[in-house]
């Protein structure tokens, strides 16, 4: 039977459930979103609604009265809005209701459902979706509350688990390591040897993190000139590389060829030249560009591609562990929201039940008193008290039951409330 209380419903698709060819067709552009939202929300089936549309997901979040009818309505709505055949996208959709919907919303905002777990943009996108629908007035008490809780949960996950704290690419791991060695990058120099793609990426990453100067050396000069122009660097003649190594705090190797481009002797001399200030060698070449023994030199740190991959792996593991903790937090918070929703469902029923009983009691007492005219005020009072006691005693079990099911914080409470309403012949709260 239909749930008479408020229930949550999410219908949507994401990067896991649907290929990009489908996602791009269902995505709402900024201009169309408002008008669509107005068409989605009505007084009957979809009472409150918001739409989250990003490149990785399209989700309709709604507070509804009848889950089945609302689900149908949302699917038809999507088909009409995007002028698509329902059969084309329906198989990619997922549907969450009640507790699962709350949990899904929390996980999305906390970036646990993202392609790259922990990426920070999604929370901003959820906030934007909330703001849009809030300004349009398509949100009611339930979704307002749910979204606010969602933001609080996302914040809690971020601050308590560090789910987004670690670098998960080779380039960003290299930058992280550079930051562990150097105080600041602004006054540091990076030297890139070779013009391989990995090296180029690493240099760009260092630059976007503020590295001061970039030097480029490559066997073929024109490639060096090109790379130097792209990253605003200076070309160093490859044949005189050894004379320039001491200038570099970070040396990135991504050259081809079989022999070590930079060996022990060059670095020892460079260290002497630069008064033993630390040097960080990032060897991205296969075969390796730098002599592996460099790492044994004092104040020299050498990471080859395997070492960096290992750091990335560790960070991913760490993220995985953090994500597990985040799931626990989400589960806790889901409980508290569902408790509130259940209370919402139960409270009006209890009030209605009390009102109806009081109404019956009053009517019957008045009838009785009207027929018995010769009663003393004392007896009249006794009859009043008797009637009140009987109704209260009779109402106690159903009210206690409603309160206890709502305390179990189950969406079931809404269902129970509806049953009690039917048994006692109470009018529907929504009418």
């Amino acid at each position: 039977m239909a749930n008479r209380g408020a229930d949550l419903l999410i219908v949507g698709l994401n990067h896991r459930s649907a290929p990009v060819a489908v996602r791009e067709l269902l995505a709402f552009s900024n201009g169309t979103l408002e008008a669509a939202l107005r068409r989605l929300v009505d007084a009957e089936t979809v009472r409150e609604g918001a739409i989250l549309s990003t490149c990785n997901r399209v989700e309709v979040v709604a507070c509804v009265t009848d889950l089945n009818a609302a689900g149908e309505k949302i699917k038809t709505f999507l088909a009409e809005e995007q002028q698509l055949d329902r059969d084309f996208f329906e198989k990619y959709l997922y549907t969450y209701t009640g507790k699962d919907a709350v949990s899904h919303l929390f996980r999305v905002a906390a970036s646990l459902d993202s392609l790259v777990v922990g990426e920070p943009q999604i929370l901003g996108q959820v906030k934007a979706a909330y703001t849009t629908s809030a300004t349009l007035g398509t949100l009611g008490m339930v979704l307002h509350r749910c979204f606010h809780k969602t933001f609080a949960v996302a914040k809690r996950v971020r601050s308590e688990t560090g789910v987004a704290a670690k670098a998960v690419s080779v380039s960003s791991a290299a930058v992280d390591l550079a930051r562990s060695i150097f105080d600041r990058l602004e006054d540091k120099t990076a030297l890139i040897v070779g013009a391989g793609e990995m090296g180029e990426q690493a240099v760009r990453h260092l630059q976007s993190n503020g590295i001061g100067t970039v030097l480029v050396a490559n066997r073929t000069l024109h490639r060096a000139v090109e790379l130097a122009r792209q990253c605003n660097g200076t070309v160093v003649p490859f044949e005189q590389l050894h004379k320039h190594v001491h200038l570099a705090d970070v040396v990135i190797g991504s050259a081809g060829g079989n022999s070590h481009v930079i060996g022990l002797a060059i670095v020892e001399e460079a260290l002497h030249e630069r008064k033993r200030r630390p040097m960080f060698f990032i060897d991205l070449g296969v075969p390796r560009n730098f002599d592996p023994r460099l790492n044994d030199l004092e104040n020299v740190f050498l990471y080859d591609i395997d070492d960096l991959e290992k750091v990335v792996e560790d960070n991913k593991d760490e993220r995985g562990r953090a994500a597990m903790k985040a799931e626990v937090i989400v589960a806790e918070e889901v409980e508290s929201v569902c408790q509130w929703l259940a209370d919402m469902a139960a409270t009006p029923t209890i009030v209605a039940l009390r009102e109806k009983a009081e109404e019956i009691r009053k009517r019957e007492v008045e009838k009785t008193l009207a027929s018995l005219t010769d009663l003393s005020p004392h007896t009249q009072k006794a009859i009043e008290a008797l009637s009140t006691a009987i109704t209260n005693k009779l109402l106690h079990p159903p009210i206690a039951y409603l309160k206890s099911t709502s305390r179990n914080s189950d969406m079931q409470a809404g269902f129970d409330a509806a049953t009690v309403r039917q048994i006692f012949g109470l009018s529907d709260e929504n009418e």
Binding site: G162, S180, I181, P278, E298, N299, D314, A322
Partner: protein
Amino acid sequence: MEILLLQAALLFYLLSTAAFMLPLLSSRVFPRALAPTLLFAAFVSHVGAIAARSLAAGYIAVIDSYEALSFFACLTAGVCLLAQVRSPVAILGAVVSPLGFVLTLGAFVFYTHARDLPPILHSAWLPVHVTLAFLGNAVFGVAFSASLVYLVQEKQLKRKKGRVPFRRLPSLETLDNLNYRVLAWGFALLTLGILSGAVWAEYVWGHFWIWEPRPVLSLVTWVLYALLLHYRSAGWRGRRAATLTIVCFAVLVGSFLSVKLLFPGRHGGEFG
């Protein structure tokens, strides 16, 4: 009042030790300000304890073993907090907090009631000399902490593995620069401490220098730190400098304790 404050300081040292250690051992995120705030609380109560005793006694209470250890611990915590103002090196508290705890606990072991000031120490030189000397020690304590953290961080970077939470340590360069700056300060203070002692000795004993364990060991420490500074300015840095800083501090603490415990003389034993 004094004892109560000292106990509070001891408790706060213990709490801040725990607060500094926990984030290193678990990957949970803790409020960043928690541990430094606890260390600050320890410092404030410790200052209170020393002030209470000094006010009651009527002179700066740094003449016997208890007072000396307590003063040392308190100043080290203070210098550590000061260092955090300019560099992101709050983590030094992870070394300074347990150090403060152990020193304060040691102070309790030697606890004595305040006595009348021995006549020989009735001098304006007393606060000048002890403050300079102990401030120097405290600054070296912070240099020691920075070196210890440096070695941990360096080892992790060299070995290319290490527990992920440990990667939140300050950068090597930050620690190394701090170490250098702090050493220079410590050396200046130690030098002034010894000079003020010499001037004072000339007043009371008639000689600038007495051949007794305390001044002699102070001189040894001074020479060691002078060498360290010399090498640093000649380009030593990193692990070598950190190791030598640790050795120097070990000698400093060793000589401090051995004078107190093994070779009491006119200076540094019981003046009585």
